[in-house]
């Protein structure tokens, strides 16, 4: 053991709901725990108890542990303490808090994925309330939003958030690091009712195969039963060229996302608002996805203050065939949902078509027609999708046909 002192977490004037842990291994002298907490009056004893439990769990008998706390909740405190300890202690043991009952829900392949909220993996304060904004998915990010020297501690935050933070039904996603480093992340996240993994800078089916293989290994070891979906992110010229290969690399791939910051840099173009420079890449990806029968997801819109710009971008994105976008701010979620939603005209048309389909079925007719026009099956399917969507977004009631028939 060469290094004897380790740190984890954040401190400073602007830090809230987090903590900073200093851990020092000692050869003798017993355990010393020093806590400076903003919520000492109310939680001082429970923080101390937690610290003792964790030290005992890792069988540490001689150490100095200091916690500077700005109102961190238990999963965050535990993650910081464990991260600091594990910088000095080589062990496979994990200090796991219970997986909340509320977090034991599943996901499915065709899940709506209009909005996925990116949450920096080392910023627990933002994660705690993420679910209240009702995104379709939350992405706990271990990649670009985490500084290289914080990757280690972020894994514990993300793991504990998956277990201990309620995301209120949002699909539970993690963006791992780039291949091959990202393979290391998997064991921290796969066992904790994870729904989907984003694989960044994906450039071929081999990346997906390698990730899948590692996931399967962990699933077998830890007896994990839930399906874990994959969403590769295409962020390079090579990725775009290989879009279909990636989209069809494994049955777990449910969507491709495009990352335009890196892509435009890769092709040597400037990223502009009208996005001509990425038109090919975007349509290429949409096409690959549709060919592989999976979802196409657009990049993020980075100007969080520009609501109208976002609205226009989403409309454009929808018109190209995309079925979702990334969000970097909770206030983008509602705008994205509203803009991906079918408009009134689309809903009215869909109602007529779907109703005609049911009527034809009820009458035992083989052909669906509306007025004098024949309706093809794909048109019915698209109309049904719009109806489902309208119901999901609360624009239409489940029993809309009862009222529709009376009209």
């Amino acid at each position: 053991m060469s290094k004897k002192i380790a740190y984890a977490g954040n401190k400073g004037d602007k830090i809230r709901s987090d903590c900073f842990v200093t851990f020092e291994m000692k050869d003798s002298g017993g355990k010393e725990i020093n806590i400076q907490s903003k919520v000492d009056t109310m939680y001082g004893q429970s923080i101390k108890q937690l610290a003792e439990d964790i030290l005992n769990f890792f069988e540490i008998n001689n150490a100095y542990l200091e916690i500077i706390d700005t109102g961190a909740v238990t999963p965050v405190l535990a993650a910081r303490i464990e991260a600091a300890i594990k910088k000095l202690l080589d062990t496979e043991k994990e200090y796991l808090l219970p997986l909340l009952e509320e977090n034991k829900y599943g996901s499915k392949k065709e899940q709506f994925r209009f909005s996925r909220l990116y949450l920096p993996g080392n910023a627990p304060k933002m994660m705690l309330n993420a679910g209240i904004h009702n995104p379709n998915g939350v992405i706990l990010d271990l990649e670009d939003s985490v500084a290289p020297d914080r990757k280690h501690e972020a894994r514990y935050i993300v793991r504990n958030a998956l277990r201990g933070f309620n995301f209120y039904g949002a699909e539970r996603m993690v963006r791992i690091n780039q291949f091959p480093k990202g393979l290391e992340d998997l064991k921290y996240i796969v066992p904790h009712n994870l729904h989907l993994i984003l694989v960044p800078k994906c450039e071929g089916a081999d990346h997906i195969h390698a990730v899948k293989e590692e996931i399967d290994k962990i699933r077998a070891d830890r007896k994990i039963e839930n399906e874990i979906y994959l969403m590769p992110i295409i962020e390079s010229a090579m990725g775009v060229e290989k879009a279909f290969e990636i989209a069809s690399a494994a049955p777990e791939v449910v969507a491709l996302a495009i990352g335009l910051e890196d892509y435009t840099a890769d092709i040597g173009a400037k990223r502009t608002t009208d996005a001509k420079e990425s038109f090919f890449a975007r349509t290429r990806i949409v096409n690959a996805c549709k060919a592989a029968r999976i979802q196409a997801i657009d990049s993020v819109f980075s100007d969080v203050g520009d609501e109208e710009g976002l609205r226009a971008t989403v409309k454009e994105s929808k018109s190209l065939g995309f079925e979702g976008m990334g969000c970097i701010h909770p206030r983008q979620i509602k705008v994205i949902h509203e803009s991906f939603a079918p408009d009134e005209e689309e809903i009215e048309k869909a109602k007529k078509i779907v109703n005609a389909y049911y009527e034809a079925e009820e009458k035992g007719l083989g052909v669906v027609s509306l007025g004098s026009k024949m309706i093809d099956p794909p048109v019915v399917k698209r109309a049904q999708k719009n109806i489902d969507l309208a119901i999901y977004l609360g624009l239409l009631t489940e029993n809309w046909r009862e009222e529709f028939s009376h009209e």
Binding site: S17, V39, T41, M42, Y43, S46, L128, N129, H329, P330
Partner: protein, 517 residues
């Protein structure tokens, strides 16, 4: 020796505070005042100069002429907010004159008044009746003030003055603009603060009135928010305030996505419950979340083509904007919070000065707040019976004044948007540290994780039963807060009473006790 009794809320309070008998809270609307209003001695103009010039050389001279003595009550107003230089200067002078045991009776205190801690320590000031914010509150909670602090609402302060509960010996009133006769207003001058409504009870009922200004103008000075006929002396000093701390140039809607979410939920609740309607009376504060609710409600009014009949302020640029685009017909203004509001009071004929003297006094012939449809308020804590706290924090420290909060509880619909927890400190809990408002008067709690309607508001529960908004019981919200934050220990609170919380009718609702080390 004081004894203890339980008041109608079951809170244990002393029978005597600062040597005076206490009337325990009897229940909402249960206490009726008796007797006649307090009055000052009849003055005569024989004692005042015929040329109307009441200017004296210094504050010390004015205080001497007013007969300042040990144990007197000195009052100040808080329109200069955290930029007030007058209260601090006043006690520098009082201290230098060697006078002791003053009861300081401000309409509110701010962190800038921590300067006065030295005078609480050396006995210049015996105790404070008003608000004890930040450092002053901490000082009081640690049991260091000689007397017991008394917290009143803005309306309660007017009531106490009018009823003679507190007799002001000398009111020392900062005025951004004053003439030699003492006519004064808050609209003009380097320290402009908009209105001077909180000073009205002081100048009407104090035995002596000193106007302190840094902007002496020619007679006559209009508008006359303070009328010279009530003023004894006028003192000119270099600066009465620090302009950038008097009004905020940049009051902004919260940027926090969580608070915005809560604000949007609140506005949607107001619309769905039909509390927001054409012609409604509304009031909200100047906090970031309140401003956002004002903003979202403004958008809803526009969408519906409705107008609010009036807004009661604390006005801000957001309310002024509603007036400008005709989403609101009148602003009645007790205090201007930002520069846009200060300017609007001076320019817009539908932006009216309206003192708390008229709006908030419970012992008067009507109560503006009971006419309000929408009342958005804050709280530090709320319990499962909807009782709310605004004065102390969960760690036991007294940190805020009551302001107009208690008075506003009389509105038709009291809505409190609060986060479920703040940096691990649950806001909704089994029991609040201090009761500042009885739960019966609080109708709706909106948190980022759900909305709780007071079970007594069956009408609202009925209206919202098919709503898509997340309606929960308050118990459910409390349990969720506890699940996230963990079970908290209680602070070590001692026996000694350090401050009392008065209700709007002058009875004692609760007390704050000394915090043990």
């Amino acid at each position: 020796m004081s004894k203890y009794v339980k008041n109608a809320l079951g809170r244990t309070i002393p029978t005597e505070i600062n040597g005076e008998e206490v009337i325990p809270f009897k229940g909402i609307g249960q206490h009726r005042p008796k007797g006649r209003k307090y009055s000052t001695e009849v003055p005569t103009c024989l004692d005042y100069p015929d040329d109307g010039n009441k200017v004296v050389d210094s504050l010390e001279e004015a205080l001497k002429k007013c007969g300042l003595q040990n144990g007197m009550t000195l009052s100040t107003h808080h329109h200069l907010r955290n930029g007030d230089l007058v209260s601090n200067k006043l006690f520098d002078v009082v201290h230098d004159m060697g006078v002791k045991d003053i009861r300081w009776f401000p309409s509110a205190s701010f962190p800038c008044h921590s300067h006065l801690i030295q005078y609480l320590e050396d006995g210049t000031i015996h105790h404070i009746e008003g608000s004890m914010n930040g450092p002053l509150g901490k000082f009081v909670t640690e049991g260091k003030m000689q007397g017991t602090g008394i917290l009143r609402s803005h309306g309660g302060r007017v009531q106490a003055i009018q009823d003679g509960e507190v007799q002001i010996d000398i009111a020392v009133l900062a005025a951004p603009s004053a003439d030699i006769f003492g006519d004064a207003n808050g609209q003009y001058g380097p320290s402009a603060c908009g209105v001077l409504g909180y000073a009205k009870a002081d100048y009407l009922y104090a035995d002596k009135v000193i106007v302190v200004t840094d902007n002496l103008v020619d007679f006559p000075n209009f508008p006359m928010e303070i009328e010279g006929n009530y003023v004894d002396y006028v003192v000119q000093i270099d600066n009465i305030g620090i302009p950038e701390k008097i009004v905020s140039g940049t009051l902004r809607i919260t940027k926090s996505p969580d608070r915005l979410h809560m604000a949007e939920m609140t506005s949607n609740f107001l619309l769905e419950s039909e509390i927001l309607h054409d012609g409604c009376y509304m009031q909200s504060g100047a906090g970031g979340t309140s401003l956002a609710i004002g903003y979202f409600s403004h958008q809803l009014l526009k969408q519906k083509g409705w107008k609010a009949r009036l807004g009661f302020g604390g006005s801000t640029k957001y309310m002024v904007q509603m007036l400008k685009d005709e989403s609101m017909e009148h602003i009645l203004d007790a205090q201007a919070f930002d520069l846009d509001a200060v300017q609007s009071v001076a320019e817009n004929p539908n932006h009216h000065q309206y003192s708390v003297f008229n709006a908030y006094n419970f012992h008067s012939k009507g109560n503006l707040t009971s006419m309000m449809d929408i009342m958005i308020l804050g709280a530090t804590e709320i319990d499962v019976n909807f009782n709310a706290n605004v004065a102390t924090h969960s760690d036991g420290y007294l940190l805020h004044g009551i302001g107009g909060w208690q008075n506003c509880l009389h509105a038709k619909n009291v809505i409190i948007p609060v986060p479920l927890f703040r940096d691990r400190i649950p806001v909704i809990k089994d029991e609040v540290t201090t009761i500042c408002g009885p739960g019966k008067m609080i109708d709706v709690i909106v948190t980022e994780r759900g909305i709780a309607i007071n079970p007594e508001r069956k009408d609202l529960i009925e209206k919202m039963k098919n709503s898509s908004l997340p309606i929960h019981t308050i118990q459910e919200l409390k349990e969720e807060a506890e699940a996230i934050c963990g079970q908290a220990q209680k602070p070590k609170i001692g026996e000694e009473v350090v401050a009392a919380i008065k209700w709007v009718d002058g009875t004692v609702l609760d007390v704050v006790r000394k915090l043990e080390e």
